[in-house]
C-alpha cells in the first residue's frame, strides 16, 4: 500500500509539468554550462570590466587621486581575474573558471559603484575656478572677494575647503608674514561662518546646500606699513 504524496509548492519548485514547460533548473544548467564551456563566454567578464573602465574614463570627474583608491583596486581585481578567466582553457578547470568569472563580475560591479560614489560625492579640485587668482600689495584691513564657480551640475557640493597663501608683496622688504592673517567668511550663505586663517592654513566651510557659486570675503590683517599678496592655493569642494 502506497502513501499519497503531500501537495507540492509549485512556486518554489525547480520543475514544471505539462506541455512545452521548461524547468528553471534546466535553464540554469544550460546557462552555467554555456558560461563555463563555450569558448566565447570566457571573454565576457573581461569585456564587462573593460566597458566599465571605458565608461569611467568618459565620465571622469577629476579631484584628488586618493579618493579613487577603492575604484582602482576593484578595477585591477576585475581585470586581473577576467584575464585569468580567459587563460583558463582546460575543460577540467570548470570550478576555477566559475570562481574567476564570479570574482571578476563582482569586482566590476563593486568598482562601478565606488566610481559612481566618487563622481557624485567625491572631492572636486576647484582651485582653477577661483577668481581673482591673486591680489597683490594689500595693506592691513583690505577686503578681497573671491568667487568660485562650478559649471557642471554634477560638480555641486555642500562644503568647501580653502587654503590661502599670504606672502610678502616684496620679498626684499622686511618680512611681515608672521604678523599676517586673514579673516575669511562666506558671503553667499546666511550662516555666520568666519575663520581666522594664518598663511598656508586651510579653512573649511559648510555651504548650507548644494551650490555652484560660492563668494568668500577675505579681510587681511597685517602689521602697519606691510604690503602682502593674497592667493588661494587650493579650493576643494566636497560633501559633508
Amino acid at each position: 500500500m502506497s502513501t499519497p504524496e503531500p501537495p507540492r509548492d509549485i512556486h518554489n519548485s525547480p520543475t514544471t509539468h505539462g506541455d512545452h514547460s521548461i524547468a528553471a533548473g534546466t535553464i540554469r544548467n544550460v546557462v552555467i554550462r554555456w558560461a563555463l564551456q563555450h569558448p566565447s563566454a570566457s571573454w565576457l567578464p573581461l569585456l564587462l570590466a573593460c566597458a566599465a573602465v571605458v565608461l569611467a574614463g568618459t565620465a571622469w570627474p577629476d579631484g584628488p587621486a586618493a579618493q579613487y583608491a577603492l575604484w582602482g583596486t576593484l578595477t585591477a581585481v576585475s581585470l586581473g581575474t577576467a584575464t585569468a578567466r580567459v587563460l583558463v582553457r582546460r575543460p577540467d578547470d570548470a570550478r576555477r573558471a566559475a570562481v574567476l568569472s564570479l570574482a571578476s563580475v563582482l569586482a566590476t560591479v563593486g568598482g562601478w559603484l565606488a566610481f559612481r560614489d566618487v563622481a557624485t560625492h567625491g572631492e572636486i579640485d576647484a582651485t582653477g575656478t577661483v577668481t581673482p587668482q591673486v591680489r597683490r600689495s594689500l595693506a592691513d584691513g583690505a577686503h578681497v572677494t573671491l568667487t568660485l564657480h562650478t559649471t557642471a551640475p554634477e560638480d555641486t557640493r555642500n562644503a568647501l575647503r580653502l587654503t590661502l597663501a599670504i606672502d610678502d608683496s616684496d620679498p626684499a622688504a622686511p618680512t611681515c608674514r608672521p604678523d599676517s592673517s586673514a579673516q575669511v567668511s562666506l558671503l553667499s550663505s546666511g550662516l555666520v561662518d568666519q575663520h581666522e586663517v594664518r598663511p598656508g592654513d586651510t579653512a573649511a566651510f559648510s555651504l548650507g546646500g548644494q551650490v555652484s557659486t560660492v563668494r568668500i570675503d577675505i579681510r587681511l590683517v597685517t602689521a602697519r606699513g606691510c604690503l602682502m599678496d593674497l592667493r588661494a592655493t587650493r579650493a576643494t569642494l566636497y560633501d559633508e
Binding site: 610678502d168 620679498p171 618680512t175 598656508g200 606699513g225
Partner: protein
C-alpha cells in the same frame, strides 16, 4: 689556503673602508661647526655710531656688545671685520665671514640664501633732518625733498614705493649721506632705520630724528650665517633667547644708544623683540608660519 687568504684580505679592506668613512664623518661634523675653533669672524658695520663703529680699530656699539655676549655663552670669541651694507650676504655665501651682525634686516629673500637668528632688535624706518629744519613733520612732507639713503639697504625701496614725488637718491655709504645732510646741505633728509639714525645723532648734535614719522614695515635685525650650520644656528638662538629673557639686553641697549631712551619713553616696547617671536624668523628657509 688561498680562499682563506682572499677572505681575510676582503675583511681587512672592508674594515679599513669603514674606519675611513667614520673618520671622514667625524672630521666633517667637526669642521661644520662655526664655533669649534673658538674664533669666529664677524662682519659688522664700521660707520654707524651706536650700533656698530670701528673707532681706531676699536669696535663699539650695540651689535658689537651683542656679538661679544652671545659668542661668550658659546665659548667663542669674535674677530670683527668691516662689511659694507651691500656685501653683507656675499661675505657669508663666499665663506669670508662666519657671521654678520650688522643691523641686517630679516627678509624673505635673504632667508632663502642665509640663516638668521633673531630678531635681536626691532626698529621702524625713520627720517633724520638738520636740527633747525622744521619743514618735515609728517611723511607727506617728504614729497619734493631730496632724501638720501645708501645701497644694500631696504630704505630706498620703501621711500620709492611711498611716493614718486620723493627725490630719493643713494650715496655710496652712510657717512656720505650724513655729510650731504649736515655739511653740504644737498640732502633735505636722511632715511634709514630709526635705531641707526638715533646712533648718528649721538655723534652729530646738529641732526635730529623726526619724531612720530615712521615709514614702511617694522625692521627686524637678525644675526646672519651661511646655510648648512643649523646646529650652530640653534645654539646661537638659545643664547639669544637667554639674553632677551634677562635684563642684559635693556642695559646694553641703553648704554650703546642712550639717545633712544631719552627720546622715546616706550623704547623697550618699540625696540626689544618679544622672545616668543624668535622661532618664526630663526634658522628657517622662510618666515613662519
Amino acid at each position: 689556503m688561498t680562499a682563506r687568504r682572499t677572505g681575510t684580505a676582503a675583511l681587512l679592506t672592508l674594515t679599513a673602508l669603514a674606519a675611513t668613512a667614520t673618520a671622514c664623518g667625524s672630521a666633517d661634523s667637526a669642521n661644520t661647526s662655526l664655533f669649534a675653533s673658538g674664533r669666529v669672524s664677524v662682519g659688522v658695520k664700521s660707520d654707524q655710531p651706536g650700533t656698530s663703529k670701528l673707532d681706531h680699530y676699536q669696535p663699539l656699539g650695540f651689535d658689537i656688545t651683542l656679538a661679544n655676549r652671545l659668542l661668550k655663552k658659546l665659548g667663542a670669541e669674535p674677530d670683527f671685520g668691516a662689511v659694507p651694507s651691500e656685501d653683507r650676504s656675499t661675505v657669508l655665501t663666499g665663506k669670508k665671514k662666519d657671521l654678520v651682525i650688522a643691523t641686517f634686516s630679516i627678509t624673505t629673500e635673504r632667508m632663502a640664501d642665509l640663516d638668521f637668528v633673531g630678531p635681536y632688535a626691532t626698529t621702524n624706518q625713520g627720517v633724520m633732518v638738520r636740527k633747525n629744519d622744521p619743514r618735515i613733520t609728517k611723511p607727506a612732507d617728504l614729497n619734493g625733498k631730496y632724501v638720501c639713503a645708501w645701497p644694500g639697504t631696504t630704505s630706498a625701496d620703501t621711500l620709492k614705493k611711498m611716493s614718486s614725488s620723493i627725490k630719493v637718491y643713494e650715496a655710496p655709504d652712510a657717512s656720505s649721506c650724513i655729510e650731504d645732510l649736515e655739511k653740504r646741505k644737498t640732502a633735505d633728509a636722511v632715511s634709514t632705520d630709526q635705531m641707526i639714525l638715533y646712533g648718528f645723532t649721538q655723534e652729530h648734535p646738529d641732526l635730529r630724528v623726526v619724531p612720530h614719522v615712521t615709514l614702511g614695515p617694522l625692521n627686524r635685525y637678525g644675526i646672519a650665517m651661511d646655510k648648512g650650520h643649523r646646529d650652530d644656528c640653534r645654539a646661537l638662538l638659545d643664547a639669544l633667547r637667554d639674553y632677551l629673557t634677562g635684563s642684559d639686553w635693556s642695559q646694553d641697549f641703553a648704554a650703546a644708544l642712550p639717545a633712544i631712551p631719552r627720546a622715546d619713553p616706550l623704547w623697550e616696547s618699540h625696540y626689544k623683540p618679544r622672545v616668543d617671536t624668535l622661532d618664526a624668523y630663526s634658522c628657517r628657509d622662510k618666515p613662519a608660519p
